[in-house]
Symmetry: C2
Subunit: 219 residues, 2 copies
Amino acid sequence: MAARIVTGLQQAILEHRLPPGTKLSEDEIGEVYGVSRTIVRSALQSLAHDQLVTIEKHRGAFVARPTIREAHEVFEGRALIEPRVAAMAAFKIDSDSLKLLNAHMEAEHAAIAAEDKGRALALSGEFHLEIANIAAHDVFTDFVKSLVKRSSLIIALYWKRPDTTCESHSHHALIDALAQKNESEAEEIMRSHIVDLHSGLNLTPTNDASISVSQILGG
Amino acid sequence: MAARIVTGLQQAILEHRLPPGTKLSEDEIGEVYGVSRTIVRSALQSLAHDQLVTIEKHRGAFVARPTIREAHEVFEGRALIEPRVAAMAAFKIDSDSLKLLNAHMEAEHAAIAAEDKGRALALSGEFHLEIANIAAHDVFTDFVKSLVKRSSLIIALYWKRPDTTCESHSHHALIDALAQKNESEAEEIMRSHIVDLHSGLNLTPTNDASISVSQILGG
DNA sequence: TGCCTAAAAATTGTATACAAAAATGAGTTG
DNA sequence: CAACTCATTTTTGTATACAATTTTTAGGCA
């Protein structure tokens, strides 16, 4: 089934093993997973719908390359939705989900300690998803899912801070607020966390130009 | 190409010519549009991703049948996002887009006058999309698109008011606020408009039960 | 009649074959 | 040597053939 291929490709994209702009050949992927192009095409179309992949007619599929504008919009979207989701999660959280969150943060720490940047970033995104799952609001969860995935591509292209550790603090503060079931505090911490992430991006036009040059040169 | 089929099916679904639960046979659709099942499947998968269609393994595709819970969530989502979008539109609107909105509302009136309920409803949804287009924020516009489409299915299942005219008043007030570029008023009118739509639904569990019975009987 | 069983038909899932378009590269010419 | 042309090769787009599963229907039995 196509789901396995979607998952596999998605994971590779979110961990930056397949960087933005990478060509995704149907034959190649089909051979890797041992399926026909029919299935691969279905998987690629699914990823394209999530905007992780761009399909150009008669040219093929490529890992998407979000524009600067798109980057701004994605984080503006997160700044609107995720604080609300955090508040809902604070209201609904129980001890089991709290344990899950803590375990997740430990995994993040481990990945950072192992200097596996891609994995650390993917886990950091999944942390936001866990909170959305606790909120248990499918519509909002789907939006968060979509935005978090796209954020991973945006970070691959535009992240300017050398360290990712600064995030751990925010996530810890978020867990505290959730544990106390403090809705307004969870909401506010999430809001400022998203704004902080947004500000960690280098979204100057110059940057964009240099990228498109490297695209032309490096393929 | 599949886009033509997606558009055609979508329009039929949004105008309630294909009611929730309708079986969408691949062969039948392929014959109507003169293409092979390959293309039809691609179109159906695209619609499934938008949650207008449900695909059951080895059983086929059906026009989606949103649950009561889903209905609540969709309108909660709209209540969060669309007021912000309306405020952005109020800030960005120019005379051209204002004319477009007015023309759109006239088309709505015409459809209501012609007693074409399905068309009137579809146009009423498109009105919200026009506002999102004026806001010119792709992320939010995509969210609104998705939620408005799903709302159409929800209304097909759960709408309890006999009249649709009550909406025209809200849309008129919205245009006024936008014309004045009054962001906070546009935001507030949109918020209460969405809440009003939400309250126009009969989302009692009883209703759901009766529907699942009719599904079992009628297929 | 009512219900269970099994063969037949219809429908979806997947692979493959063929058509169309784009990328590649050798050869030619200025 | 650079740049253009055209045949070759590769890759994607679509249709079709075959496999797997479900639905339907006919038949038998209590």
